[in-house]
Amino acid sequence: MRSPHQLAMYVAGIDIGSTSGEALILDGDRIVAWSVIDTGYNSRRAAEQALRLALAQANLTQDRLQRIVATGYGRVAVEFAHQQVTEISCYARGIHHLYPQVQTVVDIGGQDSKVVAVAPGGKPLDFAMNDKCAAGTGRFLEVMARVLQLELSELGACALRARRAADISSTCTVFAESEVITLVAEGTPREEIVAGICRSIARRVGAMAARVGVEPPVAFAGGVARNSGVVRALEEVLGHRLIVPDEPQIIGALGAALIARDGNSP
């Protein structure tokens, strides 16, 4: 009699972003394992490492994987993948799997942000991505966290303690950094500055979302979705409560794995 392992059909999705890389192994509808690593400077190595970690967790070897789909900024470098699919399609697919009713998904990643209108069935209906500027991305938060001598993970809670948000008017990350330094020098409470930073990023993404058209329910995925300050600011800007998955960072990898499972067309 064959073991459950032998009967399973394992597939994997690998999402290689500019800052982090994720791998996720799926068996049917069941998430068997997943991993998150820093991408570093070599996307291919990052993909291999992420997959290796996930396989180890699942107690599997790579030859047990029927199909691998790569997505994200570094997808082209994942030569061992059977297919490369953009993160737009993967995010739509991934969020649809977890929350079939979601019609809009917002993703704020390390160096880009996107809004995808999701059709029934999980295909993207329309999308918008940030234009060449870091101001609506995780990079913006990283820069500001460094200036304020906070860990990225501390930003959300800090923002939520603020009674008001400081005004960050610069639309450029570099100039906003100067502005924040000035605010610090003037004695503006750190919480208010962080709340202002969150609001700034939310407004930038909100404007992009309006181009696509925001239909609720709205989900928020990507690493920045862990920042409760940005979540609250984005909810205020969009005027809708946001659905934030438990593991917002793995949605792209999940979508890629689902596409690997379901065949050729995303």
Binding site: S169, T171, F175, T182, G206, A207, A209, R211
Partner: protein, 367 residues
């Protein structure tokens, strides 16, 4: 004939964003023409409808109305002033709940054909707007309106002279000019007259610049208006502003418009002629004329230097800049260009202004 017949109902507030729209015309058909100024709203909400790399003044205007921060309007009238305004007109109705009552094409020359065409377009605009106000254009109404705004021109010209003589502080002068562009002309004229009387009775010279040396005299160039923060910085730095070539000040119809004639057509032609022959802005592409005007003004006002305070991505003004700068420097007037996202000067901009003024001061023999 008083104003009473014009005040049967309160005038409808109609926003305009061009110095090419004859305010007399709108007043005569029962509207208060309100020049649209941006508020302190951030431009980000406008980026849902206009690209980020788009005239910042236009984005700020749109953002002001999207955020509901701008003074209320009953309608707007757009023009084909430039690419930015045309595209603003295109997107306006999709995102702002203020109706568009007209689109006025303003010819780009003051020649005979252009004047004739413009007079016809003004008649059409009057008809379109009057459909909403139910106050058709008549010779009497138009004559009264022209005379009212001529009175305003006389008052503003006098106030400008008081300002140049140092009897009216710059912030007050600019506030009065802005009020003239946004408030009902009758009450605006009363306020202007009161300010003129006050300036004439004030025998003390206005302390516009401190220090022992004569102030550095700066001519400003801008589109709608130079930022108040820039004017403040200049005048707190031992310098003074001696002119502003913008819609707020010099780029307007300064001379009285003729209200002669019994027919509307005659007065519309006079209006067309006056508005098409205002001091030249870059929209005419009459480079020699524009340069001659700016250099003459700089000479007349004994300006030591020029600061161009333009909106970022405002192509019409930025594209003429290289030649304007070359010609001004040829007549020993250094030029500083600022490309501004909004009215608040950033630290970088403030530093540049300060450095520029220091540089000019150091090179001026009298300083």
């Amino acid at each position: 004939m008083g104003q009473s017949h014009l005040r049967e109902s309160a005038p409808r507030r109609v926003g305009i964003c061009s110095a090419g729209v004859p305010r007399e015309l709108l007043w005569a058909v029962g509207c208060l023409p309100v020049r649209m100024f941006p508020t302190a709203a951030k431009p980000t909400p406008a980026e849902a409808y206009l690209p980020r790399n788009f005239c910042s003044l236009t984005r700020l205007l749109l953002a002001s109305y999207l955020e509901g921060e701008a003074p209320p309007l009953d309608a707007v009238v757009f023009t084909d002033e430039d690419d930015a305004t045309r595209r603003l007109h295109d997107v306006w109705s999709t995102c702002v709940n203020i109706p568009v009552w007209g689109f006025l094409e303003v010819p780009r020359s003051g020649g005979l054909h252009a004047v004739r065409r413009f007079a016809g377009l003004l008649a059409r605009l009057a008809t379109e707007v009057a459909e909403h106000t139910d106050r058709p254009l008549t010779p009497a109404r138009l004559r009264v309106a022209i005379e009212l705004f001529n009175q305003q021109r006389r008052l503003l010209t006098a106030l400008r002279q008081r300002w140049l003589d140092g009897r009216l502080p710059t912030p007050a002068y600019r506030r009065l000019r802005r009020m003239a562009l946004t408030d009902a002309p009758e009450s605006a004229n009363d306020a202007l007259q009161a300010a003129l009387d006050a300036a004439d009775h004030d025998t003390t010279a206005s302390q516009l610049a401190g220090g022992d040396s004569a102030p550095l005299r700066i001519l400003l160039l801008a589109e709608l208006a130079a930022p108040a923060s820039l004017v403040r910085q200049i005048e707190s730095n031992g310098s003074r502003v001696v002119g502003e070539v913008s819609d707020l000040d010099e780029l307007s119809v300064n001379a009285p418009v003729s209200s002669d004639g019994d027919r509307v057509e005659e007065m519309l032609t006079a209006l067309a002629e006056a508005y098409l022959n205002q001091p030249p802005g870059p929209r005419l592409r009459a480079v020699s004329q524009r340069i001659a005007y700016v250099t003459h003004l700089a000479e007349q006002r004994a300006a030591h230097a020029v600061i161009c305070a333009y909106s970022k991505f405002c192509d019409l003004y930025l594209a003429e800049y290289p030649v304007l700068r070359t010609e001004l420097e040829r007549v020993n007037r250094p030029v500083l260009l600022l490309e501004l996202e909004d009215d608040a000067l950033s630290g970088q901009h403030r530093t540049r202004v300060e450095a520029f003024l220091e540089m000019v001061r150091a090179s001026e023999p009298s300083h």
